[in-house]
Symmetry: C2
Subunit: 198 residues, 2 copies
């Protein structure tokens, strides 16, 4: 009897292997061969799912966006908006091993990608997802009149939040800031962004 | 008669070759062999100056820091502080091909470096230089009572400025923002940071 194969599950398994290779060895080590070895598959079987390095990298980036979004989606179920905004942004920052791996994957395209339009498109996906998150958080705060500066347009507020969070995440990845410093910087920013509780 | 060799000049020449390889092919392509080919040297001669890939990368990063610092140093000779702050920060952002190459070199270490302490140290040098620049600009503004928010400690103001500038530079490198958008975001931030002219 033929084994029933869950193709979605196998693709996820491979994307996870790509993430592990990036986190451990750097994005330059990702290839059909190294990922097959990491996953314990033959390169022939892997090629049934992904035919190029660009597709492998895209799958890893998509997996990271999906997982971070899922965690943030769960957070939004809870009540307090100030808590939710902070918790959502912290999910995108390299504060522990899991998030460090995710951010390494998300930013690793920067070192490649200049010449390859497929990789450049994958990289843009990540930045657009982060901008949309920032914009949705700013909108949620604005709708409740919780933005300290009422004069700033929401798009500008969202872009600035995005720059701050990306800058802190980058500095965390480079170990210029440690997790405590990243969190303190984010808190200081949110403290000025959001109307104080009374 | 033996040729007189200017060793400093030769090291600079090689560091420039490293920068060209990174900008064109990505940091993963930097090796003693590729840089020798780029510079039109034999690998043997190159090894007289740099014995490892880490040393080559470090030389490229040091060259970028030196050149950006030199340009900023010249700016400071002029009068108006508001203009100087803006111009100094713009020198560190990927707004044209030259600055795009410099920023690509400065950030390309992120994709490597996890396992290599020598590369991690080089990368930290870049972030520390940027923080010191931000701190010196905040100090210059503060000393003239030009910081709009007097309550924020200077270290916190400098760290926030650093996060904003790094975030914008990163988003520019990834082509999430174009040069006009990067400049507009920086101007919007400086507009809130600095006391308006009267």
């Amino acid at each position: 009897m033929p084994k029933i194969v869950d193709h979605g599950e196998r693709r996820t398994e491979l994307a996870e292997a790509v993430c592990r290779v990036i986190a451990r060895d750097g994005v330059q080590e990702v290839s059909v061969r190294t990922v097959a070895a990491e996953a314990g598959w033959s390169t022939g079987t892997l090629r049934y799912y992904f035919t190029s390095r660009a597709e492998l990298l895209a799958s890893a980036c998509a997996l990271v966006i999906e997982r971070v979004s899922a965690r943030i989606g769960e957070l939004r179920q809870t009540g307090d908006i100030r808590w939710t905004v902070r918790a959502a942004l912290l999910e995108t920052m390299p504060l522990d091993e899991r998030r460090r791996t995710e951010e390494t994957v998300a930013f690793s395209f920067l070192a490649l990608g200049l010449g390859d339009p497929a990789l450049a498109a994958v990289q843009r996906t990540h930045f657009e997802a982060m901008y949309r998150l920032c914009r949705s958080l700013i909108d949620a705060l604005g709708d409740l009149n919780l933005l300290a500066d009422n004069a700033i347009p929401r798009e500008a507020a969202a872009r600035r939040l995005h720059a701050v969070v990306d800058g802190l995440a980058l500095q965390g990845l480079a170990r210029h800031l440690d997790p405590k410093e990243m969190t303190a910087q984010l808190d200081s920013y949110l403290n000025d962004l959001i109307v104080p509780e009374n």
